[in-house]
Symmetry: C2
Subunit: 853 residues, 2 copies
């Protein structure tokens, strides 16, 4: 049963018509705004989402009201108008209404060249985009003539076994139906889905009387062009665009060498010289649009027999840096409030700005494709081991560390490299997490690579082989690995950016700290105005240089005095680490997590490494091997680590606590926060707390009446097991703060190891089993319930307890929103995500306040 | 400040005195019962827990009321009276009041032999147990005389630099204080703690007028003895005990060859012949005590100058089998109700009865000590590999499989062995779980063993070396490994046991199913009257014989047709498995869990095994190695297993579903239950359900109008991730039942791998970090909250959903209590724990009903 479309779903766009973005789409709304500015826009009608949906379903459109709405213009264009212009849509179709009769008529009025061009273009569009015929026979020559038209009409008839439709109304119905159905097709759905469109996103259509851009030369200037007033690359004022006489649509931008520049240019003719009045009118319209539409627009215009018409306008496409400059400039010019400038920048765009990026305009030699795990671009030589990477670093040659997967042993190699590439793993694999922490570009899960570590080479999917030292480019923003050295665009942490984040901080109502393990990271965090360190993992400190061998000595001794001696050698090194951190963060809180990983992570694997270790420790190889085997675990994540290790070998935590306290005394002006990892029962905290209190008392006593006599510290718990969340009430009684480690909490709540999830996470997200990778985007339904419940019980247990999130999710806007709602005091994330988190938090606060008003 | 003890805390035991077990202890109460029966009990007073606590704290006892309560008897005994006799306590002290004067007096009245004996014994007891002197100088000769006494008094004076106390009241105060303080000592605390006493358990004391058992021969028979009327080993009626003339206390039992049997005996004199009237009086008293105390008692008596006195009575010590026989006999004789017989058997005792046990009366050569992981005793030859175990089995030689730890690969070896011994692991390690399932004795975590698998030998802590083939005895009940073949006592699943469990089933209100993977286990389950199979793990089925190689072929193929071909070969084998299970369980539900472990568990490790595999699959070794490496995981428990595997390689579940359905059709009379493992999101269930519904539809269609046309099945979910428990509401909408896998749920809630927990669980439980190993005893506070919450949400999501627990906890009485409270329909446990679970469930129901009344 065909139903007719309701009249209210077709509307002529006038200054007062009811044209909402949610019903008619963004283009329709934008055209109404242009009309309201008094700009000359040809008569335009809009079809609502509902109307287009009905057309796609086979309903017939009553053409009368629509044609009336465009003043019964002889020729029409149809353009898509989705809710968000970024969601795409079918291409515009121009010149609807052209047929043999109209062609004859226009040959008279505009001359044969213009008439032939109009008809040929329409036949081309209709045949290819509406009738969906093979494009070959409908290729447009530069100057179509009557013969071209005959051939095209003939080709159409042959292919369709029917003549080319001559009835303008039928043409229009066909165009509308074709566009409506294309929107429902799988390709369009996939494309807009990838840009974040919901499954039920609607399409509106805009039908406009054609302003031709073609005409008899004697009638005056005709042509079309596109103009914008800022650079989409820099965000700075700059008039760009092209104008092409005797053209339609966006042809001026097609790279034809007869297109004119807009502003005066020594290289050739310009619109400014060619039509100075039109040019001035465009400038005035540009100013008006910026002030009144409160945005930088790209405007499509035609000149028909000397008369300017505005056909369409869209937001200027821009990269992140330009977006920030544009928004800040609009606010500085008083066009938008500062809060709105803050709202206009998608937080995710920020991370682009903090790293060099591979220039998107270059095509590289694609070697492999993986998961974009840490943004930014890097060029370097392939290094197949940490040792090799350190070798390159010594020679000051940039390198890219390549591993099947990384382990804590590789952190030194990662420090030495410019980027990291792994064959295995997902966005929260070890490599990815560490790389984001270090701000290193990283691509993980690069399928198709076969890495032969021993031969120091890798084979690509296409059989090519790359060797250590070969030069590659890693694009951690897109997940690509390119051959050779691609061009990199340097990061821009400019004034506009600082201004914007300043405005953000004024609006923000949840704290943002950084996860930082090293002085370098702490400096980055400080540079990005983090309010403190929310998570300092101490284990990386034990991998550096001499420390690893002392650590191993400690692991290999069974005698308490020997263990104490090894720890005594580690103490000053740890103290120095903390002194540096406290000095860098002076006055801001630093939360230090006590040793977390299982001891076997500090031991090497592989025969050669074990042999070296046996030599270094002067122990028989068999003993070393047996010890390594003894310490190995089936599921290390769930083994003897964290507070379990702290209770079984308490001397380690004693040493760390002393290092922290002595450093705090030495630097001064700091109340260190000590965090106990992997807690699952309050008694664990009670026991650790007893010992650490004793260490604090000892340090105070040693200080006598000097500095340190009044040493204070705060003891807290990392909530990362489901049980700790459930028992947060008891645990809170023992703790000054609870910091939720959402990585491990997610792993345990799902029973899902982030390092092993790579093999099926793709399938899972694709099939909609999980709406999103829960390591990327906080699972509010499951993990989130544990967070909410843990936070509530924690507060009930101790009303003034500090609550925070310190997992990878800490920098994710959705998770920040969640934490705000749950009443957390702060989030903590990688230093490089701090600006993004500051911005996201500000946006949430601004939106909430707006909603309240 | 010393305080006096309140008078109400010292009471003379009369038939009407207020003497509760909770205030005065079990011995005091029992003596009151004997008095109420009219039996001749010497005057007795009881000191309350509070009084003893005060004495231990240094308070003085006003002796007057106490002495009055025992009729101012010249000589007194003091015995401990704790709440539960099993909690132990200080030894009895007799003859308090002996001093030089009394000695002289008694020499007159009883003769020098008796008087010397009494004084010498008292000096000995006082010196050793009260004054805590070195026992050497106080050794008692067989017949002490005046010289002995002088020597002892002299020794006392030398050691204490004070004369032996002569004031009877002071003696009594000293004895009371000494006993009160001993109860507070660390040794006593530790001992009673190990028997389940709470930390605050109190001690009462019983002070009794001495009935001497010694006297002038001319005054008539004097002596003492102990009698009981059933055997503590068999539970059958049998008078046992001894009587020794001129003796005190329990001396008759000290193995002296002059002690008499009680009943007429060809080997020597007996009490029955020696004092027939006394003997008859004892029999009458025994009958009376059994009927009125409703228990089999062991009675301590004296004959003083021909007069019988009852000093004390305690429950007859008994093993589990005897306990069942005694309780059932009491109920059959109408002395106690059947429900009370059910209540009297500790459920844990049941498991002792189902396996052969190492005879506790034998001392063996202790080789090693580990964790008692699966009860029972086994004798066999050491086998250091599954292959070796299978070799022994082929030669029909019993063997004990020894491994550092076991993996699914070893299940075949475990099937072939009589017992399993591992160096690593805890009570819920792989070895322990499988062994309990198979009913195999198992000792895990045997510290001090060094196993050299390659050399097929192990070194003990003392340096001894054992080789493959050496004979050992494994005691899975006590955790000991003994050299050679110890004597085993065979299990007793006798009529009394069946009667008791029949009564239990009448009382029970929660179902009990068994976890059974094989036909053998299913038969055991059926034999133990399990109501169905609650968990049939299908993975073990793939390890048998040919199947493993087909499974490996499937894993190694990348082509869908090859995979289908391999699965088609597995189908009839799986179907045959299920047919056997359905046939054994005919009419009872069988819940089959789809394949759960990660695929790499089906692949071998080690160079030789990989080489064999490469040969079998006709693939290059490098390819096989690469595949094995590719499939390996960091944390296999949290990797690609369970439903994740089911969704990524759906053909496996399709095959299993078909095998289940075809088997159900072939056997008939069964509605199979299909369970999806490791679910964390409802969409996983939805997707699997779609495919399995399709398989069911196909099987129905193939059945035409024949059997199977009306095939039904129930799809359920194994809730073992915290997220599945949290989302049980959504998940229930997709499922007919939810079965909570508490093993994995505990692992994930705590973030604790059961296989790796062994290294610190001991420390943790000792330090009270965890009150109990959460894998042994359900953690009600954490895991329990997830169970309760999951059950509630599941029922809200689908009111008629079936809820159950199928982890190791299913057989644990405390967990059964929890499941009853949470409204679960049934628990499922190892077949060998089914009787225990039936009993425990019955006790809970009976207690609840009693509480309601």
């Amino acid at each position: 049963m065909q139903k007719h479309i309701e009249i209210s779903d077709v509307v002529r766009i006038t200054p007062t018509a009811s044209v909402s973005v949610g019903a008619y789409g963004g283009r329709a709304k934008c055209l109404q705004r242009l009309i309201r500015l008094g700009l000359p826009v040809p008569a335009t009608a809009a079809l609502s989402f509902r109307a287009v949906r009905a057309i796609a379903a086979g309903d017939m459109l009553d053409p009368e009201p629509l044609l009336a709405a465009v003043d019964d213009a002889p020729l029409l264009s149809v353009r898509p108008s989705s809710e968000d212009p970024d969601w795409g849509g079918p291409g515009a179709i121009l010149n609807i209404g052209m047929n043999d009769a109209r062609h004859a008529e226009l040959t008279e009025t505009l001359g044969p060249a213009a008439a032939d061009a109009l008809y040929a273009r329409f036949i081309h569009s209709f045949a290819v985009h509406v009738a969906r015929l093979d494009p070959g026979p409908f290729d447009l020559p530069c100057r179509p003539d009557r013969a071209t038209i005959s051939a095209m009409l003939q080709a159409y008839e042959t292919e369709r076994e029917d003549i080319f439709p001559q009835d303008p109304t039928a043409q229009l119905q066909d165009v509308l139906r074709s566009m409506a159905r294309e929107w429902d097709g799988p390709t369009a759905r996939l494309l807009r889905g990838a840009r974040g469109a919901p499954a039920e996103a609607g399409l509106g259509l805009v039908v406009q009387a054609m302003s031709l851009g073609l005409g008899a030369p004697e009638a005056g200037e005709s042509g079309s062009g596109v103009i914008q007033f800022v650079s989409g690359r820099t965000g700075l004022p700059q008039i760009t665009g092209r104008y092409l006489p005797q053209s339609q649509g966006r042809e001026a931008l097609d790279g034809r060498n007869d297109a004119m520049m807009l502003t005066r240019d020594p290289r050739g003719p310009s619109l400014q010289d060619h039509c100075p009045e039109v040019f001035d009118e465009l400038l005035r319209a540009g100013d008006l649009a910026r002030a009144r539409l409160r945005e930088e627009m790209q405007i499509e215009f035609t000149i028909e027999a000397g008369r300017l018409a505005f056909l369409d306008a869209v937001r200027v496409t821009r990269n992140a840096r330009a977006a920030v400059r544009i928004a800040v400039a609009l606010a500085v010019d008083g066009i938008i409030p500062e809060a709105e400038a803050v709202l206009r920048i998608p937080p995710a765009a920020i991370s682009q700005m903090l790293h060099p990026q591979v220039d998107a305009e270059e095509d590289g030699d694609l070697l492999a494709r993986g998961i974009a795990a840490s943004p930014g671009g890097a060029v370097g030589r392939l290094a197949f081991s940490s040792r090799a990477a350190q070798g390159f670093a010594l020679r000051e040659e940039p390198c890219i560390l390549v591993q099947r997967e990384t382990s804590p042993d590789d952190v030194r190699g990662m420090h030495a490299a410019r980027g990291v590439l792994t064959e295995k793993g997902g966005v929260t694999s070890h490599a990815a997490v560490i790389a984001r922490g270090l701000g290193l570009p990283c691509v993980v899960g690069a399928t198709g690579l076969a890495i032969d570590r021993r031969r120091r080479e890798m084979t690509l999917a296409d059989g090519r082989r790359l060797r250590e030292g070969d030069l590659v480019t890693l694009d951690g923003t897109s997940g690509l690995v390119l051959g050779g050295a691609a061009k990199l665009v340097q990061p821009a942490f400019d004034d506009a950016f600082r201004t914007l984040l300043g405005w953000a901080d004024e609006a923000r109502d949840i704290g943002v700290r950084a996860n930082a393990d090293t002085a370098t990271e702490a400096e980055v965090a400080r540079g990005f105005d983090a309010e403190g360190i929310g998570l300092c993992r101490t284990e990386h400190m034990f991998f550096e240089g001499d420390r690893l061998s002392v650590m191993r000595e400690m692991i290999f001794t069974d005698s308490a005095p020997d263990r104490a001696a090894a720890l005594a050698r580690l103490l000053p090194m740890q103290r120095a680490d903390f002194e540096r951190l406290f000095a860098i963060m002076r006055g801001r809180p630093v939360c230090i997590r006590l040793l977390d990983p299982p001891l076997h992570e500090f031991l090497p694997s592989g025969r050669d490494a074990l042999h070296d270790l046996a030599e270094a420790l002067a122990l028989p190889l068999s003993e070393v091997t047996a010890r390594v085997e003894y310490l190995s675990e089936f599921n290390p994540m769930l083994g003897m680590r964290g507070v379990r290790l702290g209770l079984v070998v308490p001397e380690i935590y004693d040493m760390q606590a002393r290092a922290i306290f002595e450093a705090a005394v030495a630097v001064g002006d700091v109340v260190p926060e000590v965090m106990v990892p992997l807690v699952s029962a309050s008694r664990e905290v009670e026991l650790v707390r007893g010992r650490i209190d004793a260490v604090a008392a000892a340090v105070r006593a040693e200080a006598g009446t000097g500095p340190g006599a009044d040493l204070e510290y705060r003891l807290g718990v990392m909530v990362e097991t489901p049980r700790a969340a459930l028992r947060a009430g008891d645990i809170a009684a023992q703790a000054a703060f609870l910091s939720f480690g959402t990585n491990d909490l997610t792993q345990m709540t799902y029973g899902l190891s982030r390092d092993d999830a790579g093999r099926f996470m793709g399938t899972y997200v694709k099939q909609g089993v999980f709406p999103e990778d829960p390591f990327l985007s906080l699972d509010e339904d499951g993990v989130g319930e544990l967070l909410t419940l843990g936070a509530r019980r924690g507060r009930e247990g101790k009303p003034d307890i500090t609550l925070s999130v310190c997992g990878e999710h800490g920098g994710d806007p959705q998770s920040i929103a969640f934490c705000r709602r749950a009443g957390f005091n702060y989030v903590s994330c990688s230093p490089y995500r701090v600006p993004m988190a500051r911005l996201a938090a500000a946006q949430l606060a601004i939106r909430d306040r707006a909603a309240v008003r």
